[in-house]
């Protein structure tokens, strides 16, 4: 955009409202305009961020429930592990845009479509980590637990799951960060999340909005990862001890 074109915009009614109302930084499409971020925080960025968090939470939560059920089943019946890894691995390899295309005829341009795709990307990571955590419990610990009279259910909840927790949280961290980044692509089916401002910024080649939304996405990933680390430390204090 040239200065000659910019000048008439400032005087007459703006063609693109956001550009017109802004400061000179915005009119010049500067690299990053704090003013724009402040002006558009409450009606553009903040709602997008909250939607993005919701998209992520729902996907990780549903993905965890499905992966947990599959991991428990495969933990009991060892032969199930391979088919589950093959299927979830296949889902993981489908390009996200292609998956949206496949799903739109069935579930339409809805949030459901976006969530189905996001969930399918979490399954492989979550399943593999949960199963590795459960089968990583030493045989003698299981033997002692059963030998002292724990039932299978008590063994699972009191011994195996607490011991699997670090591996499970490690899987949750990767899955969460992956979903946060991938959820931006959901904008192709539903106008929600940080993908929306990124998409509109791309169409207008508006740098500030692109950078602001992108940075929020990165910050969200870092915060979520950090929170999960704290949760893991709080829930498994024994992992920080060693022989003096």
């Amino acid at each position: 955009m040239t200065a000659a074109l910019a000048a008439p915009f400032a005087q007459s009614d703006p063609v693109i409202p956001e550009f017109g109302r802004g400061s000179s930084c915005v009119r010049d499409n500067g690299l990053f305009c704090w003013g724009w971020v402040k002006d558009n925080w409450s009606d553009t960025l903040q709602p997008a961020l909250l939607e993005h968090i919701a998209l992520t939470l729902i996907a990780v939560l549903i993905g965890s429930l499905i992966a947990f059920a599959l991991a428990l089943a495969a933990h009991k019946r060892g032969w199930m592990a391979t088919p589950v890894v093959v299927v979830t691995g296949f889902l993981y390899t489908i390009p996200s845009l292609a998956l949206f295309q496949l799903l739109v005829p069935i579930t339409g341009l809805t949030r459901t479509t976006a969530e189905i795709a996001l969930v399918s990307y979490t399954l492989l990571i979550l399943f593999r980590n949960m199963l590795a955590g459960l089968s990583g419990v030493p045989a003698e610990v299981r033997d002692a637990a059963l030998g002292m009279g724990m039932t299978e259910r008590q063994l699972l909840w009191k011994v195996e799951l607490p011991l699997a927790l670090p591996a499970i949280v490690a899987g949750l961290r990767i899955a969460t960060v992956t979903v946060i980044s991938l959820a931006t692509v959901a904008v192709f089916v539903v106008n929600e999340g940080l993908g929306a401002p990124i998409y509109s910024a791309l169409q207008q080649t508006f740098k500030t909005e692109l950078i602001a939304a992108g940075a929020l996405c990165v910050a969200l990933a870092l915060v979520a990862d950090g929170l999960l680390v704290l949760v893991q430390r709080a829930l498994s204090p024994w992992t920080r001890t060693a022989r003096p």
Binding site: M148, Q154, W238, R243
Partner: protein, 385 residues
């Protein structure tokens, strides 16, 4: 003793503190296996005794032990705990009444030592106060400081973890303990210490114990009775350690207990168990003639000399007397002395090391208790009866 009271007075399920155990024609065959893992195994363990299952690897000793708490289920025959068939009990309930110690211990890494020890009381639904009291008693019983309850297993040494394993198994005061090579992963020095500690503990708690090991020396040391098993889960001999060593049932048992079984038998007895030669010492100041007469009576040319307080000071060759009274200046100092608690095997070693001269045995106060000769020790080796 205090430590037992919490569990016993409030009662577990009407069990006495120890219960008899009986194997009746027990068999175990795995589906598809060409031969039985256990075949027609019968023996009885009286309440309060340690029964050691010993044998080469693959003889089914661990399988036999795991049949008792139904970690493996029987194919045929029956196992009676306090007269009741284990097959009639729900496995989880049965196991809560049987202490369980395995070689790798299997402490829960995510729980503190106190939580580990409290496992069975929690499963039985004891209240918090009673559980905490019991945990404190048990840590004391196995010789661990109370503060260690707050630590995690990864912070403990192997020997300490082993003690926690025993404390955890004893938590609900079970009438029977199953111990699968409990000291197998411990270095020899600490193993010996743990064995001695456990024997001392057993003298207080008097549990019925099934103890599995592949080490015949450990079996002889720990067992009141020893079941020697051979390939295919058959019982080769069931006897006390002394009977086993004195009179092995067949060549298999003889070779399993080892060619040095005579020496091993000597470890079973202490000098206290045999009668020593007494009145055999000369006193400082005795006239030469008296000393010579004593030597003649003993058919020896060397006398043990004691001072005025009956404390042995050395040996005196008779030819050094030369008509003079016995003098402290003439004696050769003693190479070694033994106490009444010295095992016959150690006594034999000391005798042999000192040129087969009779070994001087002293009481706790250092006074002469008597002498032990090579002949006395070999007499003790004669088969019983």
């Amino acid at each position: 003793m205090n430590s037992e009271n919490t569990a016993q007075t409030e009662g577990l399920s009407g069990y006495p503190s120890a219960a008899p155990l009986e194997f009746r024609h027990v068999g175990k065959r795995y589906p598809g296996a060409s031969r039985a893992a256990i075949e027609d195994l019968s023996f009885a363990v009286p309440a309060g005794e340690i029964c050691v299952l010993v044998g080469p690897s693959g003889c089914g000793k661990t399988t036999a032990m795991r049949l008792v708490n139904r970690m493996i289920d029987l194919s045929s025959g029956d196992i009676l705990l306090d007269g009741v068939s284990v097959a009639q009990r729900k496995p989880a309930e049965l196991r809560r009444e049987i202490g369980y110690v395995i070689q790798q211990i299997g402490l829960f890494p995510h729980q503190t030592i106190a939580q580990n020890v409290a496992t069975v009381p929690k499963l039985l639904g004891w209240d918090r106060q009673r559980t905490a009291r019991r945990v404190a008693e048990l840590l004391e019983l196995v010789g661990l400081p109370h503060e260690m309850g707050e630590r995690y297993p990864a912070e403990l040494s192997g020997g300490q973890r082993q003690r926690v394993g025993v404390a955890r198994a004893l938590a609900a005061d079970p009438p029977l303990m199953l111990m699968d090579e409990p000291f197998g992963a411990i270095d020899p020095i600490n193993r010996e210490r743990l064995q001695n500690e456990f024997l001392r503990l057993q003298r207080e708690i008097r549990k019925t114990i099934v103890f599995v090991t592949h080490d015949i020396d450990e079996a002889i040391k720990m067992g009141d009775r020893i079941a020697v098993m051979r390939e295919g889960g058959r019982l080769a001999q069931y006897a006390t350690p002394d009977e086993l060593l004195a009179d092995p049932a067949d060549d298999f048992v003889a070779s399993f207990v080892g060619a040095d079984r005579g020496l091993k038998r000597l470890t079973l007895s202490q000098l206290d168990d045999i009668s020593l030669l007494d009145g055999a010492a000369a006193h400082v100041g005795d006239p030469a003639a008296d000393a010579r007469a004593l030597a003649d009576r003993q058919q020896t040319d060397e006398l043990v000399v004691v001072d005025g307080g009956e404390v042995p000071i050395g040996r005196l060759p008779v030819e050094r007397l030369n008509g003079r009274p016995v003098s402290a200046d003439d004696v050769d100092p003693l190479v070694a002395t033994a106490s009444r608690e010295t095992s016959l095997r150690d006594a034999l070693s000391l005798v042999v090391a000192d040129g087969n001269r009779p070994l001087v045995v002293v009481d706790d106060d250092g006074r002469l208790a008597g002498l032990v000769s090579l002949e006395l020790i070999s007499d003790a080796l004669r088969p019983p009866g």
